[in-house]
């Protein structure tokens, strides 16, 4: 039986500087929605979930947004727990957002599990036509290569390449069996959700 709930779950984070287009990427990929006006889109979004098949196997992808905690660099260590992949986003029309990637890579490496897949995204590719590019593709690619991370440029506005980082991240994740089942992983984590409504009626004896 392959019910949907039995799909392997992968946790993917999107991090990077404020305004880079992280929430826009999340919404475009998961809901095919783009709103050029809102920069407050982040509010209320914990994560979005999306099914994705790679190499004939379906996965449930949970994509987490920073909830604005990147703004003053206050993402907590708990945010990174159990993440299989981290997508780092910079804005190709902002040199400073690209320059901050070094710090974000370091934060990801410090907090995510050692095997987690890192992937760098240059966003707002549509701005190139109006002469808005501030970071060349080669620069971005060279940086990602040096970090052993995947790389692509995309536009959430035009949809160009929007699926690519997710497919490639999952593809890399599933090639690391130790990431899907870390050596010390086991079933000792408890389920406490069953205490909901009939909490008080549970028999103590």
């Amino acid at each position: 039986m392959t019910s949907e709930d039995a799909l392997p779950v992968l946790k993917v984070l999107i991090i990077g500087p404020s305004g880079a287009g992280k929430s826009a990427l999340l919404l475009r990929y998961c809901e095919d929605h783009f709103d050029p006006e809102t920069s407050t889109a982040t509010i209320g979004i914990d994560f979005k979930t999306k099914k994705l098949s790679v190499r004939g196997q379906a996965y449930r992808l949970n994509v987490f947004d920073t909830a604005g905690q990147e703004r003053f660099r206050t993402l907590s260590t708990s945010y990174y727990r159990g993440a299989h992949g981290v997508i780092l986003v910079y804005d190709i029309s902002s040199k400073s957002s690209f320059l901050s990637m070094e710090k974000w890579i370091e934060e990801a490496r410090n907090n995510a599990q050692p095997e987690a897949v890192l992937y760098i995204v240059g966003s707002k590719l549509d701005k190139v036509v109006s002469g808005g590019r501030a970071v060349s593709t080669e620069e971005g690619k060279a940086f990602a290569d040096a970090q052993g991370a995947g790389f692509c440029e995309l536009s959430s506005k035009t949809r160009e390449n929007v699926r690519r980082p997710f497919v490639e991240v999952v593809d890399r994740i599933v090639q690391k069996p130790q990431l899907l089942k870390p050596p010390n992983a086991n079933n000792n984590t408890l389920s406490i959700s069953n205490i909901g409504s009939d909490y008080s009626s549970a028999c103590p004896c």
Binding site: S18, A67, G68, Q69, I195
Partner: protein
């Protein structure tokens, strides 16, 4: 991007300890504009969990015998909000020790450790768990089972020192081979009594003795012998060993009635990766998802309080903000109750302590070992308080595989540190399979507490609510949740609906049938 100073905040919360963080969670679905600060550059305040490096730098600001800020406190009219600056005054006399060949013996990179400052186990009956479920925050927290409780028995004649597991269910008592049959009957009688001790029938048995010592009560009313009394007192986890009948029965009742609630063989849980620190971080994230703004490494001082219905705060980064309400934590720690803590990382998984004792029980990640005062070899007088050790396996994520993190606690006394070290030594000698494991790292400090009630004041025309410091208890105490609710009502005012407190729908993205974190 909007700037922080433009519009007034409905509430500025100073400090990311558990209570402030739970408040942020409670407010996360309201429309309140919330600025949440912490003077420290880490989450969790008094409940934080540290990598080795973070622990080192924390120690450097907590070496003194009183908070370094205490002088400034008394002379400044407008003290910084939230635990008196990064140092705070709750913790002091901190020092750290490393084995001279720690690295060679397996002490690995800093972030492989997540050592909790004030770890507490959470009984399965605690309202904290039901609130984490009803608020949907539980999905981001991994809970592990707290397994057996042991009493350390010193060597008696030919018998070497050992750890005796405390039986805490009928089956446990029946299958125990070291308790004589007569004692078993007394113990069963007592356990049966505790299960409904607060019923009309049973209250007569103890109410006249409510404020006397539990220990005497156990002898006179239930004829429990020395050994059994030791077991029962250990289950109360009380640090002064002088627990009253009323308090003691309540705690043992909680223990027994929590047993089996979430599964066989355990009565309490512990959040993976550093205990309540993790819960605080998850609660803060919920606050951020709800639109709250988070700044660490930032303290606030009251600038002017005479602005109509607002208070003006100066943040340590120079920005001025307006707030309609202030939340902080009490800095007036009394120097009455102080506990001493020793955190040790040892090179052994101490497997024998983490065996599941009931079929189908999850493998426990935490074991509790009590050292009744009389069993501490170093103890100069019989009145030395007991020592408790919470032993955490690497399953907690607090140390790497093959090691354990041991949290020892006792009441502060001149011999406290020595007693903690002795207890650690005895524990390692008795719990190890073969040779006594070596200790790689130790962190010692003392923790004081404020009065247990919140401080409710006004600054100008604005309410200020200060949470009490965390209780020194080794088990989470539900009364702090009532304080969170009190603060929530203060902030919500007329909008507060009692039956909506901490009860939320799942956010879009996780539909109710998804059991994805289990």
């Amino acid at each position: 991007m909007e700037s922080l100073g433009d519009e007034p905040w409905d509430v500025v919360i100073c400090g990311t300890g558990l209570q402030q963080s739970l408040l942020a969670l409670a407010l996360s679905r309201s429309k309140k504009r919330i600025l949440h600060l912490d003077p420290n550059d880490f989450y969790g305040q008094h409940e934080a969990a540290f990598s080795l490096q973070e622990a080192d730098s924390w120690v450097t600001t907590h070496t003194g015998s009183s908070g370094a800020e205490s002088v400034a406190q008394t002379t400044t009219a407008a003290p910084a909000e939230g635990s008196a600056g990064p140092g705070g005054r709750v913790f002091r006399n901190a020092n750290v020790w490393r084995h001279p060949e720690a690295e060679a013996n397996g002490l690995t990179f800093s972030r492989a450790y997540s050592l909790a400052l004030a770890p507490q186990i959470i009984h399965t009956r605690s309202k904290l768990l039901s609130q984490l479920v009803s608020s949907r925050a539980y999905r981001q927290v991994e809970f592990l089972a707290v397994g057996s409780f042991y009493v350390h028995e010193p060597a008696r004649g030919d018998e070497p020192a050992k750890l005796s597991r405390i039986p805490s269910s009928r089956e446990d008592v029946f299958s125990n081979t070291s308790i004589p049959a007569k004692s078993k009957r007394s113990l069963m009688k007592f356990l049966k009594f505790v299960i409904d001790y607060d019923s009309d029938d049973q209250r007569d048995v103890w109410q006249a003795h409510a404020d006397t010592h539990l220990s005497d009560f156990l002898t006179t009313q239930f004829k429990l012998d020395d050994d059994l009394r030791k077991y029962i007192l250990a289950l109360t986890l009380t640090l002064d060993g002088k627990v009253t009948v009323a308090n003691g029965l309540a705690v043992i009742h909680r223990h027994l009635t929590s047993m089996g609630l979430f599964g066989p063989g355990f009565c309490a849980v512990y959040p993976k990766w550093g205990g309540l620190s993790e819960v605080a971080q998850v609660a803060c994230r919920a606050g951020a998802v709800g639109g709250g703004i988070y700044m660490l490494d930032t303290s606030a001082e009251v600038e002017t309080a005479d602005v109509h219905d607002k208070v003006s705060l100066k943040l340590s980064n120079g920005i001025s903000v307006q707030a309609a309400a202030l939340i902080s934590s009490r800095d007036d720690v009394s120097h009455g109750e102080t506990i001493s803590r020793l955190v040790a990382v040892v090179k052994s998984p101490l497997k024998s302590l983490f065996e599941a004792t009931v079929e189908g029980a999850p493998a426990p990640a935490v074991a509790v070992v009590a050292f009744p005062s009389s069993t501490i070899p170093a103890s100069e007088s019989a009145s030395d308080p007991p020592v408790y050790a919470m032993v955490h396996s690497s399953e907690t994520g607090e140390c790497p595989n093959g090691q354990s993190a041991i949290y020892l606690t006792t009441h502060t006394s001149p011999s406290a540190k020595k007693n903690l070290e002795q207890a650690l030594g005895s524990l390692l000698a008795t719990a190890a399979e073969q040779e006594t494991p070596i200790c790689l790292y130790q962190l010692y400090y003392e923790q004081t507490v404020s009065e247990g009630t919140p401080l409710v004041e006004t600054v100008g025309a604005v309410p200020k609510f200060s949470f009490p410091s965390p209780s020194p208890n080794l088990a989470f105490d539900d009364s702090s949740l009532d304080t969170v609710k009190q603060a929530w009502k203060q902030v919500m005012g007329d909008e507060a609906q009692d039956d909506e407190f901490m009860i939320f729908e799942d956010r879009e993205g996780a539909d109710a049938n998804d059991e994805i974190y289990e």
